[in-house]
Symmetry: D2
Subunit: 430 residues, 4 copies
């Protein structure tokens, strides 16, 4: 099924040093317009406004996920493990490479506003009228369906799903290392080579040889630190709030018949909730930023202000909230209106604990969308869920952290500080 | 003149670990729209199409240049060198930070096509109706002129110019390290700390303590390798050719009265050679890529094809040329026309030796725009030009390398290979 | 009190890049025979038999501790914190540099066998008839007493003690980074620069600005991993067992009047428990290894075998024990005798949980020798013990891990395996 | 011929991350006393007195050379190159692992004084009455001869010799990277992975695919910098001079019938030029340092002083010499005697240009012991000597650098400075 390239292709990669492409199908997939489009979508959304190095794209992440998968399979093949279905190599590589191809510009924010789902879009790209689909069908007519099944975690051989999507999958391993590298933080580094060496195919799952427990502990502690130091950084949350507000305002305006001085087809479709696959494939962060640049001159002052803020990085200020602040939040809405601010835009409360992220989840309910737990394999071929064996994983598995924060435009509040209640001034440290 | 921030600001940076801002003016400059715009302009232009990690922006490079300058001055101050004019610290920091603020999208390509000059644009940004100008004028009315004088290398104290612009300046030191980090190549690393420790202000120049000669050798060897491994990589040259052809074609179409289905004001101004400062400040790579995305559907098939090629990375193929190929180039133009290709677009010859780059130039003619040579300072306070002291620098100073290449659209030539002369087929290895 | 060197001395260091010596006293101390002797004592004892890179000496570690202390004080001075007693700089630097100067060869093993205490030896070196004492007395006659008081944690200004010896001191920070670097493991890396930036002198203590909590979490997680991956590695424990047995056997032989074919004065004194300072200063790991090399040919076959094992790395095998194995241990002693082995030498049980190590201890009893806890300083100048603020530190503070192990000479047991009980064979996986 | 280990053994290594042992013979060789002895011999001799991190042993280097060879062969096997004789894998691995096993303590100094040759000792270890010989003979009786033939560069298949010993061999690649890592300098890093990828077996030689020329350039520039920054550092030369003088003095004393208060058998044999293999295998740096420690108290004041200097790092001072200083050297001998110094010990002239080191030698005379040049392989299967293709390699191939230096005991000269000629004072900067 695999058709080897005459000469192996090598991508220089800062994280994995080199990325090797040996198969013609993988090479063709990388060169499709749909995959190249990932160059114009940042891996970490607005995080570059917090960590200026975080300008890397989903293109490089996708190559990295592919490379880790390739290395895992290569280890399985070298050792000749009988539990690994060798005929599924190409499927695994393709699913790894393509797993993020349905991401749109600033995906997480857009998904929250418009209810889209990048996993579903990925399947549409794989199954729809695209170059990617055509390349996959060269293998066989059912191949796109198989790739989509892996993406949807429904593929008949669960070991392939486990490889591409688990709590210790190629996706997570690549993004922790890559995001740490590009942001420049120390936290995300763990011993990838060691982990790759202790993965084993076993009875339809990818499990970890028990001697590798410490490397997995290190990986999960990295996750823990990256969540709180990078992914949930309040400055990043602040920029995401602006982004969501821009989309929300633009949708409202479009719905109300407002005449935009600048509009492009795919954006109009996005705002009105009716994007076609072809339109979605034209959407990228360049287009979104260009629209924001033009809207910065719109007559609607709210939209224009939000766009200028986003492009020029004049983010909302934030202050931590505690449980007891909930009552006060109602009061402050009134104060906001009194000083001429719109509480539905100029005051936002963000609760990271609502977030679906967990460093690690030991158990999963049947039929849930949760990813399966990490299992240790001992010499007697018995499996143990890792948090039963590791004190430290048990300790951090359930930890949640993170204050709620209130976000607001500081420079519009400050001039009216004397009109605010003393409680408000205290809570905002004004 | 310096007004210290109440609390030092720290940027996390992958190259320098941390970047420290202690001065209010610097902080304000970073937060201007004109400086934030550098986030939307890549440091290495189209190199990300060769090295996928090279997605870093001029924003992060500019911060890095500022940081190196800050460290150099801090070393001078700690050691109390009398040849360093302490009152010029803020000017040096501002000029370092702002030296690239006049770069436009894909600068080098645009400068070649439209004859613009980013240094002149930098001075316009500093002197014109901008936020940056307003922040600088808070220091004093003549401060913007001083910054512009440093940028133009005309400032009355040459030591400030030497710090910001020489053959061993903060600009070059940052970009070598940064470009190596983000591309993932090994070549650009040298011992920055060691070099920072041996720089000395001396009689109006920045010179190098002679014990640091080896570190400078290492730095110049890094430059040598980076030029030929990264900056002049033929794949990058190929993508720049596409870019220049797109701009050339769009200009031709605009001049001929062609009705574009999509056009934005700043781009129209650029194409017609009449950009205002305000328009230039709106130009960024997001806008250029968005235009290309729309033009990919233009009726003009040549423009549309070039844009699709650029966005989807279907670059021109290349083959090396030797001196004797010059005669053949004329013949191949005829062959190209015979198989329906336009030699003015579908065949480009690129000569890296035309490039102004030198790893190091020992001497400069008076009044030239060349940067002054690197001087070693010995214990008797005598200066020696470094290539007189270092065999290896003398060896590489004059080295030029690099083939000429012919670039062409391979997949449009291949079907007609049988119509080509055997010489052409041999030279292109078809 | 500080007398600056005419020219700063720089040591190249793989961990800190450069180590700067600016003060004449520090420079003289480094050049004493007692300090140079640390080059012949490994930082990690027998760990090089587990991790072959771990051949670094206490010399390089001591320089590293000095350098971190220098950086911390330099940060305090730059920021002009009034809680830092500037006059104590030299004392702090000297105490940091010298804190390990009383270590002997393979210290931990020797301390366990002979009941010596490297801290007391350090004070003897500082106060006794040594070059180090002479250099210190050049400052003033009471200066050696001050240094010894800091080493003993009794100095009148507790902030100096806190700097040199706490749960987040220069010693621990250097050894984690250095041991990780030389062993080649990933686990010991944390963001030293960040921690150095958030340390504050405050009311007689060194505390941590609360914004630095995450960096401290990372540091403590590194400690956790290093303990279990490196410091308590069972192979290292196995080599330490051999070492202790060699010393125990040689002492027994000496006490019994055995005529050694090779003996050196300082070793004889060590074995008989009556070492003078001058003898202790001659002891180093070269001498100990040379003695072992000669003893490898002794007539006493037990001693000879142990020495050959140590030098040729034929270590004892190990098997984990659980609580229920305690009864069995008695039985196995009988079996050992039956097959001709000496249970007091050929069978050793090692219990890491007896070890005094804790990743972090939140509280200390008054008058204990425990190091004080890590305190966070918030904006209102209030202090919080860090485990009260950090879930993850609270989680790992009390964690103990590590099996007990039984160690034994495998190749002497295997030929008699058929004479062992089935329980013993099962427990030893024979 | 290869007998696979039941389970692959992995050594953690700071340079290569992991070192993999898959073959039983290699595993047994590592565990012989002769190979374990390399743990007690430093890779860089006295360089640890210049770069305190350089305490790594020949043990870790030998493992590294083995690992690089293993990777090269693995690449050849993966690609199925027919020019690689697959049956020579084990021989190549054993020769790589063992190539340094004949090194003695402080080898280079001892070889200069006593005319020994570590290559010949290596062959004696391989062929003589040793554990290593016994392990090799388990393969077949002629196997030790084959290993020795490879070491002596006489093996019938030159490609095996080329792999183990050339100007781009596993030995050089490992030591550049390893010495750079442990000294902490920047200079020795090059892209090992890239080089490993472009090596090809071709007509009895290991050659380089021409696309890898730049990586080889980088490697040779690293060599160039390491020679002059690390290997020929004048402080290291100074410590080697002391070492040679100690051995010279001790030999003189032994020859003259002097009664040493401390002597060990292998050292006596070394000093008298009649070491047996068994004695040589007992010699290590621990023993040499122990002897020096004891001799520091000898009655012969010259020997005692030299030993104290070496152990306490009170090295000779040095001053550069130029060609014109040769006449003066005669005069200074007289001055030395006048102030009570012995010019044959207290004044040494060191000429690095006598050294056999070259960064790269393009051509070799037939039958010379020189290593063959590096050859580039192009697509037409033609070979080019690399300096013919690379300007920069041609430039540095012949470069020699390095002053001659005079070394002397400064503190014994200074008190008599007024008795010296003004020329001598000037040349020594006294």
């Amino acid at each position: 099924m695999l058709s080897r390239l005459h000469e192996e292709k090598v991508f220089k990669d800062p994280v994995h040093h080199s990325i090797y492409v040996q198969d013609l199908t993988v090479w063709k997939l990388i060169n499709t317009p749909e995959f190249q489009r990932l160059r114009r979508i940042r891996q970490l959304g607005t995080s570059y406004l917090t960590f200026h190095g975080a300008e890397h794209s989903r293109f490089s992440h996708s190559l990295g996920v592919y490379e880790i998968t390739r290395k895992v399979i290569s280890q399985f093949e070298r050792n000749g493990y009988s539990d690994w279905p060798q005929e599924e190599k190409l499927l695994s590589l393709c699913a790894s490479l393509l797993h993020d191809v349905g991401h749109g510009p600033f995906s997480h924010s857009i998904e929250q506003i418009f209810g889209t789902d990048h996993e579903e879009w990925t399947c549409e790209v794989v199954l729809g009228d695209t170059e990617i689909n055509r390349v996959l069908r060269e293998i066989d007519d059912r191949f796109p369906d198989k790739v989509a099944a892996v993406i949807r975690k429904k593929y008949e051989k669960p070991i392939v799903v486990s490889l591409v999507s688990s709590q210790l999958d190629a996706d997570r391993m690549d993004y922790l290392l890559r995001d740490a590298y590009f942001t420049g933080v120390n936290y995300g580094t763990f011993d990838l080579d060691r982990i790759l060496r202790v993965l084993r195919p076993f009875q339809g799952k990818i499990v970890v040889k028990d001697s590798g427990m410490h490397a997995v502990e290190d990986y999960l502690m990295s996750r823990y630190q990256m969540y709180w130091q990078v992914y949930f950084h309040p400055v990043t949350r602040s920029s995401e709030i602006l982004l969501r507000q821009i989309f929300r305002r633009a949708s409202e305006l479009l719905a109300s018949g407002y005449a935009f001085s600048f509009m492009l087809d795919p954006i109009r479709a996005l705002l009105s909730g009716s994007v076609t696959l072809a339109q979605y494939m034209r959407l990228d962060e360049a287009m979104v930023q260009t629209a924001f640049g033009e809207w910065a001159g719109e007559r609607d002052e709210l939209l224009a202000d939000l766009c200028r803020r986003f492009l020029n990085r004049r983010l909302y200020k934030f202050a931590p909230l505690t449980g007891e602040d909930r009552g006060w939040l109602e009061d402050v809405r009134g104060e906001w209106r009194r000083i001429g601010l719109d509480p539905s835009y100029h005051m936002e409360v963000d609760k990271p604990e609502d977030s679906p992220y967990d460093v690690y989840k030991p158990g999963v309910l049947p039929d849930s969308k949760e990813k399966p737990p990490i299992l240790l394999l001992d010499k007697r071929e018995e499996l143990t869920e890792i948090s039963a064996a590791s004190d430290i994983i048990r300790s951090i598995a359930g930890l949640h952290r993170g204050n709620d924060y209130i976000y607001y435009p500081e420079e519009r509040v400050l001039p009216h500080a004397h009109l605010l209640s003393s409680e408000t001034r205290a809570r905002l440290s004004i």
